[in-house]
Structure formats: C-alpha cells, structure tokens
C-alpha cells in the first residue's frame, strides 16, 4: 500500500484517465447530501394533528366496514339486487331520517378517510415540494366539493322533482 504512487492530492492515479486528476486547483465534484437536516430546514412541527389523523383512520375504518358492507348488501344483494335500484328506490330510502343519517355519515367518513389516505400517499411519494402542494390542493378541492355536494343533495332531496 505504502509503495503506491500518489499524486500530491493523495489520490492515486486513475486507471485509464487522460491526465485527469483532482487536487486543490481542480477539486472533485461535491455531493450534496439530499436529506441532511440543516439549520435551514423547517422547524419541525410538533402537534397532535398527525396523531388524531392516525386515530381517525383506524376508527373511521371500523365504522366504514359496517356502513359500506351494509350499504352494498342493501343496494346490490338483498331484495332483488341491483335491478331494483331506481329513482323511486332512492327516494323511498331517503324519506327515512335513518337512511339519510346513514348515507350522510358514510359520505363524510369515506371522503375524509380517503382524502387523509391520499394525503399520506402524496406526502410519502411526491418528491418535490411544489408537486406536493399542487396535488394536495387538487385533493382538498375535490374532497370539499364532493362532501358539500353530497351533503346538499341528502338534505335538499325532493322526491317530486319532476
């Protein structure tokens, strides 16, 4: 090892290099550590939001299992299956506050559950801050729109619309 010829920079001659050597005048390219925490990186935000979001996912998931399976059974399996679904069937169900509440709860929980899930997916997979921002903006807009529209329909549904 000690017999190896070295250039003054301490870097041995590179096989097949055409006189390319790094030294104080020709420094090697710097590798930027992409994930280093520096003083400039944002102050970490501590708080209970992520904890509540995590808990919400578990609890809403359990409730949604009941709501969604019940919904699918009623709509698609029981009492004639999918062929019975029509304007009259929906109007009949929404005449009862029980089914109104069921659908309202399912709408809110499913939308928030899905939106929060997608939020974490975006956080995990979007690499650039701008991509993250725009994807989340799109997600939140779509969520708010769907939740508000659905709520509006459930509360203002008029069976005598025609």
């Amino acid at each position: 090892m000690s017999t190896t010829e070295t250039t003054p920079s301490g870097i041995g001659p590179v096989e097949g290099d055409g006189g390319l050597s790094y030294g104080p005048d020709n420094p090697a390219p710097v590798i930027e550590p992409p994930r280093k925490r520096t003083k400039k990186s944002p102050r970490s935000t501590r708080g209970n939001f992520e904890m509540h979001a995590w808990l919400f996912m578990r609890l809403s998931g359990i409730v949604l299992v009941v709501l969604v399976i019940g919904h699918l059974l009623i709509q698609l399996v029981l009492d004639g299956g999918v062929s019975k679904i029509g304007f009259a069937f929906v109007a009949g169900r929404w005449a009862s506050p029980w089914w109104q509440a069921w659908d309202l709860l399912m709408l809110w929980l499913a939308m928030l559950h899905g939106a929060n899930g997608l939020r974490t997916v975006i956080n995990d997979y979007a690499e650039r801050a701008n991509t993250r921002l725009w994807l989340k903006a799109l997600l939140y807009t779509a969520t708010v729109f769907t939740v508000l529209l659905g709520t509006l329909v459930i509360f203002t549904f008029d069976p005598n619309i025609r």
């Binding site: 090697a28 925490r37 970490s44 904890m51």
Partner: protein
C-alpha cells in the same frame, strides 16, 4: 481470517476430497465521484467456499483483485453494525450472510444501503441517520440532578419490558429499508424510534414524556406505514415495527 487455504497446505497428503470452492460472481455497485458521476455495476469472479460470508468475498476482492473497492467494516462479527449493505436486494450485514444462503449460482448483487447519500462504492453518509438518532436523546435522563449515591435498581420484569430494543447496533439496515425514509429523509426512521423506545419504556428514565413529544412530530412515528420492512431487515431480530406500534400506543394513551 482463518481461510481453508491454510488447512489444505498443512495436509497435502490427505485424500483429494472434492474441492469446497465454487465460483461465485459478485456484482458490486461501484461509485467514485472523483472518476465518474454515475454509479455502475462491476462483476468480480472469485473462487470461494460457500460456507464463507459475503464479507469474506468482499475482502478477497479488495485484497487480491481490486484495492479501490471501498466498504465499511470494523468488527466483522455482527456487533459493530458497520457493514450493512443491500445484498441480493435485501438489507443485511455482510459479515452475517453466508454465501450458501443467498443462491451463489446466480450473481450476488451488493449495493450500498438506500436512502442515504453514497460517498464511494458501498460507503454512505450516515449523518442524517445519526442526526435522527441524536434527536431522540438516546441517553438516561433523570429529574434528580444530584450524583446518585446508590445504584438505580430495576426489577427483572421492568428490564424485560425494553429488552428487545436494547439489541440495536445502529447499522441502519432498518431505516434504509423503509420506503418512507427513501422518499423523505426527514422521517426519523425505525432505528431512532427503536432507540427512543429503549428509554421511554425504561423504568429508570424520567424523560419519556419529552421523547414521546419529539416522536409526535409530523415526521415522527405517525409516518410509519407498518410495511414491516424494518423488522425483516433487522440483523439482530428486533421486532422493530412492534416497538414503533408500542410508541404509538404510548402516545395515544400516555401510559408507558
């Protein structure tokens, strides 16, 4: 290194048994920023006893074939945690992986662990990993600032509570197998959480609340997606995902 070569030389008159040596191809991910900007795969063919370890193969390459191959290793016996690398696509310690266990008929791929900046060949910059480790305050904290006059005693059951997480050797195999960490190195990563767990559930330590608060960060335990990559990768067999789940539970119930 007690190589079988020595034994052979000592017993030249012995019946010529079938050679234990087989030809193995090591496909090593090479990177030298002073020569080329891009990493590339390089194949090395070597004769090796399949009962030897991947680290022995790397030594053979470095000592006899290409001295520029760069990797970390210190104790070479699975305690120091220096030689975690991605072998055949899975994070392992090179010093605890036998050649015969990883299908030597096919080329054995050896890469640096993912998610940390590669400095050269198999050496990565561990600083972000140790930064997260330091952030959870991995040392005993007590409210009593006076010098203790007697031992801090603990029952066997209390010791058992965090026994699993004391086994961590900080090799980064878990953290660098975590898909969340690959994408966003701001996540504390399993190793830091494991070492926080070691003190949070230690009956002698009195800063559990503080440490939980640190891990309640938006890049703390809640970013764990329970993919179990960390548990699979841990060369010490720590149930990493379970430890993370226990920290989550402690955060919700504030009981630990």
């Amino acid at each position: 290194m007690a190589t079988p070569v020595m034994d052979k030389a000592e017993t030249p008159g012995a019946a010529p048994a079938a050679s234990p040596y087989i030809t193995v191809t090591f496909r090593v991910r090479r990177f030298d920023p002073e020569v080329a900007a891009d990493a590339f795969w390089e194949d090395f063919q070597l004769e090796i006893d399949p009962k030897e370890r991947v680290l022995d193969g790397l030594h053979k390459i470095k000592w006899d074939m290409d001295g520029t191959l760069t990797f970390r290793r210190s104790c070479a016996h699975g305690i120091c945690g220096s030689d975690a690398m991605r072998i055949n696509g899975k994070n392992r310690l090179a010093c605890k992986t036998l050649i015969k266990d990883i299908n030597p008929e096919k080329p054995i791929t050896v890469e640096p662990i993912k998610g940390l900046t590669v400095l050269k060949d198999l050496v990565v910059d561990m600083e972000p990993f140790f930064q997260a480790y330091r952030d959870v305050m991995p040392f005993l904290i007590t409210k009593d600032t006076n010098e203790p006059t007697r031992e801090r005693l603990q029952s066997a059951a209390d010791r058992e509570r965090f026994d699993d997480t004391t086994k961590c050797i900080l090799c980064a195999a878990c953290t660098s197998s975590c898909p969340v960490f690959w994408n966003d190195g701001q996540y504390f990563g399993p190793a830091a959480i494991v070492n926080a767990h070691r003190f949070i559930f230690d009956s002698r330590d009195e800063a559990g609340e503080q440490r939980l608060e640190i891990l309640n960060d938006k890049d703390g335990v809640w970013r764990c997606r329970t993919t179990f990559n960390c548990t699979d990768a841990c060369p010490r067999g720590i149930e990493v995902t379970k430890a993370i789940a226990e920290v989550k539970k402690a955060l919700i119930t504030r009981r630990f």
